[in-house]
């Protein structure tokens, strides 16, 4: 999967036609074969752009920051990224007319080991669901499959799970990188940092990490698109996707197979309901 050429052409075209003020894409780190996001401001820089199966990051994330607001932005989105973008549009965080979206019919990106990343293996929607033009041949929606790690955890006993996660929460350093790397964590002031929440908790403790991560994942429940930006950003390499995948599973299985951001104007699972939602777990 290599769309470098096409993307450079598109960016070039958009700049020359003055359709955009900046273009968000990927470029080489310069010191290894990995890639980093890049914000192109000038026509001359477009040749930095590239797109391969190492273009892992979710660029929609950069739309939540000051320097892209009210600018005409072109950007590249894979299937998962576009779903996040969809939600950002639904939740009025970006204006569609300000965007030129280059969708990718994604064949999956690789993780640090060079293998196809897990979320790509289990991906439900590899093609961009919203775009102005799309690169590659769409392969369409795939069947939902429960995350392998979750399946494994379900097999484990309560105690094993508890010990496992106690360690996870212990290793969290509360740096909030997960939050900053998540396109859907765009709150002006995160609830975790607000007085009401902070008042009763120590700074960096297992307890506060438990509290923070649980709250965070519940705020993303029914919204998370499994782009794993958070995990890539986490310095402690926490398996954050577990929390999200669990919620995704519960929601998919119980609430009319809801998947976040698949269609426009479809809000998160918590902002609607069905009379037929499961009721048996309630006395």
């Amino acid at each position: 999967m290599d769309y470098t050429k096409q993307i450079q052409d598109i960016a070039g075209r958009l700049f020359s036609e003055e359709k955009i003020d900046l273009f968000i894409g990927y470029r080489n780190t310069g010191f290894d074969e990995n890639q980093v996001p890049v914000l192109i401001k000038h026509y001359k820089d477009v040749d930095q752009l590239l797109f391969t199966d190492k273009s892992v990051f979710n660029l929609a994330n950069y739309l939540k920051y000051e320097h892209t607001r009210n600018k005409r932005v072109g950007l590249v989105v894979k299937g998962c990224d576009s779903r996040a973008l969809n939600l950002m549009l639904t939740e009025n965080q970006v204006k569609r007319e300000n965007l030129y979206i280059v969708g990718i019919a994604c064949e999956g990106v690789v993780d640090e080991t060079g293998e196809k990343a897990q979320n790509c293996v289990e991906c439900v929607m590899p093609d961009a669901v919203i775009y102005d033009e799309i690169l590659g041949t769409p392969s369409g929606k795939r069947d939902y499959q429960v995350n392998a790690d979750i399946r494994e955890l379900d097999g484990k006993s309560l105690t094993e799970r508890q010990e496992y996660f106690e360690e996870v929460f212990e290793s969290c350093i509360r740096c909030n990188a997960c939050r900053h790397s998540c396109p859907l964590c765009y709150c002006a002031k995160c609830c975790i940092d607000q007085e009401t929440a902070t008042l009763f908790q120590g700074a960096n403790t297992t307890s506060s990490a438990f509290h923070a991560l649980m709250t965070w994942s519940l705020h993303l429940a029914g919204r998370c698109v499994d782009c794993r930006n958070c995990e890539k950003a986490c310095p402690s390499h926490l398996p954050l996707h577990l929390l999200h995948k669990q919620n995704e599973k519960v929601i998919y299985e119980n609430f009319q197979e809801h998947l976040a951001g698949m269609i426009q104007d479809d809000r998160g699972a918590f902002y609607k309901y069905s009379l037929s939602d499961p009721d048996d777990f309630i006395m």
Binding site: R69, N70, E91, N92, Q93, Y186, C187, A188, K189, C190, C191, Q194, E195, T196, A197, L199, F200, H219, R267, G268, F270, Y271, K272
Partner: protein, 657 residues
């Protein structure tokens, strides 16, 4: 620094017997922030409240905790005590140590005492986070909207208008009057429907406080109690009502004939028509579906014959907007379609009619001049079979409920038939005779004696044609045999069914309706005329099957409700509503979708201080907000909070133990 006062009540023996009250007081004194704690026999008594008032002043207390019975019991009482002492009443918290402790742990005084102390601790913690709140006063537009111009709508409109409150009466058809105008005589007194109704209709037309909008429909309603805005579509009548004198020349000359809805299609009306002679307003309208001029662009006879030149083929629908404070919905009912009863041959035999058709026939002003005739050959029927509960009380083919009025009007019909065709005989197939009502049972008896009608208890299983006659085969349960009756005419007492557009209307008004389409009242017994939405009321068959007296009574009740609502210039509202912290609001508008009352709108504010850029944030309409807190719980950035139940208050409670 918080200075909390704690007042623990013995409630006579109710609490004291199972909770060590003094111990609770001692515990309370230890709680951080508590400046004053005391117990008393009856806190709710005058001396008890006195103690609270005095303590507030004496100890400069900043919030009050009363440990006593359930807040659902005496919260108001104690709030009053606070305001009497010049303190904001919402600085009160009640610890429910009776229903939640002394009464439910009567075997374990120690545990009950500990629990009570904890409950006090929680209440104190919460009260520290309490804020001063003030009742919200909402301005009221003193004008009412009445939807539907049947007897219910007419009655409601007149009663409201008589209280010198302006009323907008919207009726979808060209004339008010509704179903009652189609009736001949009314049970149980047999006074003529027209004679008692038409005067009221005229009153409506001439009433200075009523704005009558016939041939119109409500298409939009927004706002909230006291402050609704309604959009009404006035359908093009193609006749200028201001200049039209109602002479009727146009109607006479119009060459187009179409089935007459008012007479249930028994006879024909013209394409330009007013539904019936006593119509109000008595001005004709052009039925665009059938008018040759409007269909094909030629004819135009009515325009030629109209001396006033009131005919205007170019007229368009117009949208009328009104500001109103309350709504009365009185859209009435339709007759249920008996198609599922195929064994009756409905639709195959002309001589099977429904009771409203019969009503029109026997009406003196009706299409047959007051004599019932067989639609097939126009002969006067000698033997008439009335079948009750067609659709009603029939889960299999119809609906479960009882239509309430059929027993009575069928009895009436037998009488009317007897009066119009003396040598006729009536057979009535019935399940039960339900004649509950003043003078009803007597009326049924009378009809049976006077007419000698044959009442057969049982269902009809089949109707078939034999020569000219209809053979009605049914069971006579009393003799336990199948009987066959030879009938010239069969009258089906088809069920009352809600007005077909009710669901649509309910949606645009934001009120709920049941599985049939009847609009739902707020409470089946205690709030039978209100809907769940404040300021919207129900009158007549739109809520459930009713006879005329019940309908009129309910209509007047709605009028009383409306007048009550408009009694003051403003409405006072509980201050426990959501508020938005615009600094934190991201404008994702999830709260807008979640709010069950459409109480959340959006507003544009500057991006930062003095900044030109604007951003969109949520805005609570305090008038509409009912304080459920749905929006608070789903707001990820915690930008919304619910006064009286703030996150801070609840978290305080949680962490206090």
């Amino acid at each position: 620094m918080a200075r909390v006062g704690v007042f623990v009540c013995f409630c006579g023996a109710n609490i004291a017997d199972f909770v060590d009250v003094p111990a609770v007081v001692e515990e309370a004194k230890k709680i951080k922030g508590v400046k004053y704690a005391i117990d008393y026999k009856y806190m709710c008594s005058d001396p008890g409240q006195g103690m609270i008032r005095d303590a507030i002043v004496a100890h400069r207390l900043t919030s009050i905790v009363v440990a006593a019975c359930s807040p659902r019991m005496h919260e108001k009482t104690f709030r009053k005590a606070l305001s009497d002492a010049g303190m904001n009443p919402y600085l009160l918290e009640v610890a429910n140590i009776r229903e939640h402790s002394s009464w439910v742990h009567q075997k374990d005084k120690k545990a009950a005492t500990e629990k009570s102390s904890d409950l006090v601790r929680m209440a104190v913690a919460k009260s520290i986070a309490n804020e001063q709140l003030h009742e919200i006063s909402v301005p009221v537009t003193k004008r009412a909207l009445v939807i539907g111009g049947g007897i219910a709508g007419i009655q409601a409109a007149l009663d409201i208008a008589d209280a010198r409150i302006p009323v907008v009466l919207v009726e979808k058809s060209p004339s008010i009057g509704g179903k009652m105008a189609q009736l001949d005589e009314t049970f149980p007194t047999l006074d003529c429907s027209q004679c008692i109704l038409t005067p009221k209709m005229v009153d409506v037309a001439s009433h200075p406080y009523i704005e009558l909008l016939p041939y119109s429909e409500v298409i939009e309603l927004d706002g909230y109690v006291g402050n609704y805005k309604v959009k009404i579509k006035r359908k093009a009548s193609y006749v200028n009502f201001d200049t039209c004198t109602g002479c009727g020349a146009c109607v006479q000359k119009c060459p187009v004939k179409v089935p007459n809805e008012f007479n249930m299609g028994i006879d024909k009306r013209k394409a330009i028509y007013s539904p019936f002679p006593q119509a109000v307003p008595n001005k004709p309208v052009i039925d665009a579906e059938h008018c040759t001029m409007l269909l094909k662009g030629k004819c135009g006879i009515c325009a030629k014959v109209c001396e006033k030149g009131s005919i205007d083929y170019t007229m368009q629908d117009e949208i009328i907007e009104r500001e109103i404070g309350a709504v009365v919905v009185a859209t009435g009912y339709d007759l249920w379609d008996p198609k599922p009863y195929e064994e009756y041959g409905v639709g195959r035999y002309k001589d099977i009619i429904n009771s409203l058709e019969f009503e029109r026939m026997v009406s003196a002003s009706g299409p047959t001049g007051g004599v019932p005739v067989r639609p097939s050959d126009g002969k006067i029927p000698k033997s008439v079979v009335f079948i009750q509960c067609v659709g009603s009380r029939d889960e299999a083919k119809g609906i479960e409920y009882c239509s309430k009025i059929c027993c009575m009007y069928t009895a009436k019909h037998t009488l009317l038939l007897h009066h119009k065709v003396h040598d006729s005989h009536a057979y009535v197939f019935y399940m039960d005779i339900r004649a509950a009502g003043k003078g009803y049972e007597e009326f049924v008896k009378r009809s049976q004696v006077e007419t000698g009608a044959t009442y057969l208890r049982g269902r009809v299983s089949k109707i078939y044609q034999k020569g000219e006659k209809l053979m009605v085969r049914g069971e006579d349960a009393q003799i336990g045999q199948v009987v066959e009756v030879e009938a010239d005419l069969v009258v089906l007492a088809t069920a009352i069914y809600p007005y077909k557009d009710n669901p649509e209307l309910a949606r645009l008004l934001g009120i709920s309706y049941d599985k049939y389409g009847f609009l739902s009242e707020a409470h089946p017994k205690l709030r039978p005329v209100e809907t769940a939405k404040a300021g919207i009321f129900l009158a007549g068959c739109t809520q459930a099957p009713k006879d005329i007296p019940d309908t009129v009574a309910q209509a007047s009740a709605t009028a009383a409700k409306v007048c009550g609502l408009f009694a003051g210039d403003t409405l006072l509202k509980d201050p426990m509503v959501s508020k938005v912290n615009t600094e934190y609001c991201t404008g994702c508008q999830n709260c807008v979708t979640v709010c069950p009352y459409q109480a959340i709108v959006t507003e544009e504010i500057p991006m930062g201080h003095g900044s030109k850029e604007i951003r969109i944030v949520a805005k609570i309409n305090e008038g509409v907000c009912q304080g459920c807190g749905s929006c608070v719980a789903i707001c990820r950035s915690m930008a919304i909070d619910l006064a009286g139940f703030t996150d801070m208050q609840i978290i305080n409670e949680i962490v206090s133990i």
